[in-house]
Amino acid sequence: MRLEPIANPSAARRLGLPALAIAATAALGMILAAAAGADPLATLGLIVKGAAGSKLAALETLNRATPLIFTGLAVAVAFRARLWNIGAEAQLYAGALVTVLLGTGALPLPQPVLLPVLALAAMAAGALVLLGPVILKTRFGVDEVVTTLLLNFVMLLFVSMLLEGVLKDPMGMGWPKSAPLIPEARLPRIVTGLRLHWGFALALIAAVLIWLVQNRTTLGYRMRAVGLNAEAARFAGIPVNRVLIQTAILSGGLAALAGFSEVAGLKGNLTLDLSPGFGYTGIVVAMLAMLNPLGVVVAALFVAGIQTGADSMSRAAGVPTYLADLLLAAALLFMVLAMRLTRYRVRAG
């Protein structure tokens, strides 16, 4: 078989196939729920209910999407320039680390000043973490897929070391966690009582800004040029290495914002399990969005919705929690396939 591009896919195709992907996921969910002894017909409703069926559910979905928007943007920016940043997880932790280093009393500043300072400092730290692999790539040609991936483990161990050492909360009764942020360092909640915080708004703003950067600025243009053909870009006078470094700063900074937002908006302190793989899921989000920053928002909401919805369903239906991850993975694979088929037709031969 081979794929043949479709010049102008019909609306039916563009909407129908993703709908089919969701239907396929739902069907799989029903089959597996039935296998686990639950009522298959109820599962669907329970997923929707868990993702958006109440104020709590909807806000929690937005909440779960927040770090995914940041890491998704980080990956989208990097992948555009063909910088394979698999290390958003490490950059996220770097941002979180700096947030607690400076936000637990070291900087006695008023909130409107402190928050931007923390965000920028976190971004700088994330950028720094990605700069290492990028310099190894531009200087020595070391494959960044591997270095960024390995740095995730190193960073996690480093955070663990600090949390069990100098950063350990003296009031924490020994559990490896940092001291809480001072109130001035906290991102306020959007809805009182529930934990959706201004980090979500920040994520939306970031998505719009990155869209503008990619489509309206010379930097975005250069990043795409470098990603599509570095040799031609270099020939045309574009400083390829500098663009890669700028990309790294932007990408690492965005991933670090996820850490900043989770700590300052949600947790209030740093633990080793701050991120259940947001850095990796960011890759999925970015690719689902086809690297479009605004698409990242939609993709993050989709992923977060499936995640919270299926998780909530697994509890309500009394099936093993792992069904949620399974359905998320299936939804993702079905969806990328559906999106490919909106633009390509399968031909025999």
């Binding site: 190894l136 020595f140 991936l149 069904l323 990328v336 490919r340």
Partner: protein, 315 residues
């Protein structure tokens, strides 16, 4: 650094090194085959989890140990089929499919495990492969016990390494795989199907990853645990790069990485270990891997078409 020297002269260090390396050898070879054909397989971590589970579960249900190995391999191949179908003929992003397969495979294993064994707080055990000293060879000092006092699965790892190297460099099939990762047009122009070659490589490679996972439950340990693969798959991706996409060097890399691991475990027991945070020791293999990558960096050896999908009739 006499502490290191003291460790290096113990037989048990060398035995541990090969034991730790064994699962990595399988999975690294698997990843290597995929990448030589042009497909980055980030599904490795989850495929190892699935192999670890099904291999163990087969034996738990009463199957023979070797049947467990076979089932683990078939499990790996099944996920390989998913990965290959999506990345090769459909040409989807190898990053997203790889991570998706990792999620799918591990979640499937966990889900099935929990369905089958809902109420275990103490995971059931099987009788795993036992060390099987090779008569004669295992008596050679130092090397003998290290190489030849292992379980049969480790010997299978040696066999896999030799077989993969032979196939890659000495057979038409291996030639086709290597060419598919370098320039798929060259493969197509010689009348071969790039799709078939790449899919075959991904499926076979994933089968090896499944066995790598099963090593953990059938040889290194005797029960299945959530999260027990614990990043070993990601390490193997680094090892392929470290080995410059060359089977022999990648296996050596796996052994070297295992040596670092065996060493750091032992260093923790020395007086030094009491002073330095344990995380520093755990970091050691990763940091040294990065350092080794820098030392070995040679861009030229990357398969040129790695991560580039091939679609006939489109340029």
């Amino acid at each position: 650094m006499s502490a290191i020297w003291d460790i290096l002269i113990t037989t048990s260090f060398w035995v541990a090194m090969i034991r730790i390396a064994s699962p990595l050898i399988f999975a690294t070879l698997g990843e290597l085959i995929c990448e030589r054909a042009g497909v980055l397989n980030l599904g490795i971590e989850g495929i190892m989890v699935a192999g670890a589970f099904t291999g163990w579960f087969t034996v738990y249900l009463g199957g023979d140990l070797w049947l467990g190995v076979l089932v683990a391999m078939l499990t790996g191949m099944a996920f390989g089929v998913i990965h290959a179908t999506l990345t090769v003929p459909f040409g989807l992003s190898q990053h997203v499919v790889g991570l998706g397969v990792t999620m799918l495979a591990s979640a499937s294993a966990y889900f099935t495990y929990r369905l089958a064994l809902p109420q275990v707080t103490d995971p059931p055990r099987i009788v795993p492969f036992q060390p099987w000293p090779v008569p004669g060879l295992s008596e050679i000092p130092l090397i003998g016990p290290a190489l030849f006092q292992q379980t049969p699965l480790t010997y299978l790892a040696y066999g896999a390494a030799i077989l993969v190297a032979l196939v890659l460099y000495r057979t038409p099939m291996g030639l086709a795989v290597r060419a598919a990762g370098e320039n798929p047009q060259a493969v197509a122009a010689q009348g071969l199907s790039v799709t078939a070659v790449r899919m075959g490589a991904v499926i076979v490679g994933s089968g090896l990853m499944g066995i790598g996972g099963a090593f953990l439950t059938l040889s290194a340990f005797s029960s299945f645990f959530f999260e027990m693969v614990n990043g070993r798959g990601w390490i193997c991706i680094a090892l392929v790069v470290f080995g410059a996409w060359n089977a022999g060097k990648a296996v050596l890399g796996a052994i070297l990485f295992a040596a670092f691991d065996a060493l750091q475990i032992r260093l923790q027991q020395t007086p030094l270990g009491a002073q330095v945070p344990y995380q520093v020791f755990l970091m050691l293999p990763y940091v040294l891997s990065i350092a080794a990558l820098v030392a070995m960096s040679r861009r030229a050896s990357v398969p040129a078409a790695l991560m580039t999908p091939f679609n006939r009739g489109e340029r």
